[in-house]
């Protein structure tokens, strides 16, 4: 809503014509940014919900939980990422990146988290982008998650892996926890090399530190359970000495 205001109606402000153009430009840009931010927030909230859901996984409900998470993940794409695609319309991917980046990062976190629980492997950027392809109309440049957002999302993933590992260990799933541990170690290891090159993103130093903390928390948890489980129990002669690991039966 550009206001017209002349200093003096008799001598029109000569600068004004040019500025009404700038005003239009900025208004449109700001409106679009506002819509993109809102879409990003919705993506964040709903991706977080998917993550919460996946955390409910256990040996007994794996299929059910993952199925539901998958559906909700698809809903994030259909209902919210699609809005981004429409707004950005094949351009402004980089200009408005800061407006949608938080949402995309959270989506990467959710999708890779889900995928790891389903397949045990890392969902790649190409796979993710392939899944987004149908959203774009064939005539404009398709929305692609960029490498930076993908990596920033992965960096957060280790935090979720840590929480998952600790809960899974309580639940006796030692083998799964070991798998999580190695997966998190690998991601951290690869990120170590990439971190300083990420377009001068200053967050990354901080995120690397958090990642290392998370990885070490997983390692320590695995260690505790391993050591505990390997203990000789001399007092309990009745126990089967070959009994490998007690935890699974705790449940």
């Amino acid at each position: 809503r550009a206001r017209t205001m002349t200093t003096d109606s008799s001598s029109p402000n000569p600068i004004e014509a040019a500025f009404s153009g700038y005003a239009d430009y900025l208004n449109q840009l700001n409106d679009k940014r506002e819509r993109v931010v809102k879409a990003s927030r919705d993506i964040t909230i709903n991706s977080k919900k998917v993550i919460f859901e996946v955390h409910r996984i256990s040996k007994h409900n794996k299929e059910k939980v993952l199925e539901k998470a998958n559906k909700n993940l698809a809903a994030v794409v259909d209902q919210h990422i699609s809005r981004l695609v429409k707004e950005l319309n094949g351009t402004d991917f980089w200009k408005l990146r800061r407006a949608y980046s938080p949402g995309i990062q959270e989506y990467v976190e959710a999708a890779t988290f889900y995928n790891f629980c389903r397949t045990g492997s890392l969902l790649t950027l190409d796979e993710m982008n392939a899944a987004l392809l149908p959203l774009s109309d064939p005539f404009s440049k398709p929305l692609k998650i960029n490498v930076l957002d993908y990596l920033l999302g992965l960096a957060d993933l280790t935090g979720e892996l840590m929480r998952l590992a600790i809960v899974r260990l309580s639940d006796g799933e030692l083998e799964f926890a070991g798998k999580i541990c190695r997966f998190a170690q690998e991601i951290h290891r690869h990120m170590t090399v990439l971190a300083p090159n990420m377009d001068g993103d200053t967050d990354m130093t901080f995120k690397m530190d958090t990642m290392l903390q998370s990885v070490m928390k997983i390692e320590n948890a695995c260690y505790t359970v391993h050591v505990r489980g390997s203990e000789n129990i001399p007092l309990l002669g009745s126990m089967d000495p070959s009994y490998p690991m007690m935890l699974p039966d705790l449940e």
Partner: protein, 228 residues
């Protein structure tokens, strides 16, 4: 292995973008050096050195700027659609360029340098590489920051009409900026600061006027004019 392959690809990607960034930075550093040169010539204006002499020196530096922006444009062509990915590397230098060009333009014409005119002066009018509108606007604000000092030095040198002209220009400029719906960002902060420049210039105008030095000749004693 798949993971390794993907991360290897990322490594390459990031190295390429790192190298682009370095090249952009190298040009931006040269732009900054050129800005310093131009600025040092413009300082002569404050010392009331004859304008033509100053302008001549400046113009050759502007040719340098043209060449440098052309280089930026060329590098940008290597990464189509990623102008805004690397924008941070030349942003503040470009704002300074706009500020200098706009000051020069105002000295020569007494009017505001338009966005398109700025691009034209840098030889970007036919390029895909443009000056971001916000950078243009921030540059204009920077230019306004320099006007109070200019006015003070002009009056010291005996040019008593300068405060009125600058005050008029700043008032118009401020009114024009108010048409924009600014977000709570750097541009808004710079714009909010413009009122201090206005205030200082108004005070100099007041000094000149109350001493009857204003060129329009009306002293204040008899002066019932002033009412507009």
């Amino acid at each position: 292995a798949l993971m390794d392959k993907q991360f290897e690809a990322f490594r390459q990607h990031l190295e390429e973008s790192g190298s682009l960034r370095d090249r952009f930075r190298a040009v931006a550093t040269q732009i900054e050096a050129t800005n310093r040169n131009i600025n040092s010539f413009l300082l002569l204006i404050h010392q009331s050195r004859p304008m033509p002499e100053v302008l001549e020196k400046v113009n050759s530096e502007i040719d340098v700027l043209k060449r440098l922006f052309n280089q930026l444009a060329e590098i940008a062509r290597e990464c189509p659609g990623q102008y805004y990915r690397y924008h941070g590397n030349w942003k503040s230098e470009t704002q300074a360029v706009v500020s200098l060009l706009a000051f020069l333009h105002w000295l020569e014409t007494g009017t505001l340098l338009g966005h398109a005119e700025a691009e034209q002066k840098l030889g970007l009018d036919k390029s895909e590489f443009r000056i971001d509108v916000e950078d243009y606007l921030i540059g204009i604000c920077f230019m306004a920051n320099d006007l109070p000092r200019y006015v003070v030095n002009r009056v010291t040198a005996g040019d008593y009409d300068c405060p009125r002209k600058v005050m008029k220009f700043l008032t118009d400029l401020h009114a024009a900026f108010r048409m924009l719906n600014l977000r709570n960002d750097f541009l808004r902060k710079k714009f909010d600061g413009m009122k201090y420049d206005q205030r200082k210039v108004e005070e100099v105008y007041y000094d000149v006027k109350i001493r009857g030095l204003a060129v329009d000749g009306d002293t204040m004693v008899e002066g019932t004019e002033g009412q507009q």
